[in-house]
Symmetry: C2
Subunit: 158 residues, 2 copies
Amino acid sequence: MSETQWLDPVEMRAWRNFVDLIGDLMLSLDDDLRDNGITLGDYEVLVFLSEAPDQRMRMCDLAARLRLTPSGLTRRLDGLVAAGFVDRQVDRNDRRVTNAVLTSAGFEHLVATAPLHVDSVRKQLLNFMTRSQMDHFGAALESIKSGRDSVRSELVDR
Amino acid sequence: MSETQWLDPVEMRAWRNFVDLIGDLMLSLDDDLRDNGITLGDYEVLVFLSEAPDQRMRMCDLAARLRLTPSGLTRRLDGLVAAGFVDRQVDRNDRRVTNAVLTSAGFEHLVATAPLHVDSVRKQLLNFMTRSQMDHFGAALESIKSGRDSVRSELVDR
DNA sequence: TCGCAATAGTTGCGCGTACAATGGTTGCTA
DNA sequence: TAGCAACCATTGTACGCGCAACTATTGCGA
């Protein structure tokens, strides 16, 4: 058992500021969206469905995309179905799967709220960054993500 | 009502990768900590208390630091008190306030799990960044945070 | 000094989500 | 082709947290 390698000042600043910011940021984003009558979680469902081919996704794929468990997605869809934003359709080719499909009402609602959300993202984050910061930021995050993905694919689990 | 200014590619990449990464990252961090018998949320309580003078904080201050509502903190402390990691002590000078105090058992537990958490932070994030990326990252996040703080203090609300 | 507003914490209730168990469907293999 | 394992979604249950209501304490102004 070797000595712990604690975080040095540079690491510590990066890490602490990161955690600090995202907690605050996500709450603000959710608040802004709630002011317009939808949850950040529900909004994400509409976004992913709207971007999917034929505006539909299998429950299990959607759950993975949202980082939800199957049961979590079932309950979340319940609300969206009740609101008329999403339909459940049993798949014709594989009757085990049910597809979540965006309704026209759901699409309308997304179109109505998206500008407000984009405003919110600018107001809460992007307005505080320079163009070059955004560029480096995006590139750095992308390399981090691909690094994480490749170690994950090397392992069997998950 | 002016036209919406949608995100251009640079903005989009920064934003999407950001959201994508933090969702994944936080889950992994929590998983790693759970493997060692504590929640990320509970761990944060121990960290903040350990850094506070006299290892104690007023409930309301701690709640703000954790971005929890008062009731949320009450429930979270219940678990930590039951585990023997934190004590509740009514303040002598102001009997409205109760202080959350880190016990020696709580401190021991923090000391035992901190190295594992640091390992986790390296494994999940820092190992995928270069030193200069970390440096720029920390600086950028810091300026964003201070920008957000200053607009918040200009407004009356919150 | 009295009374009222502000502050601190807890509790009842509801919502969202994870975990474990269940039922239904498919596909592989003996 | 019969049977079994894998897969998909849902349901029961428990837990964490926010909101609103409530109690206790403090401080301030008439």
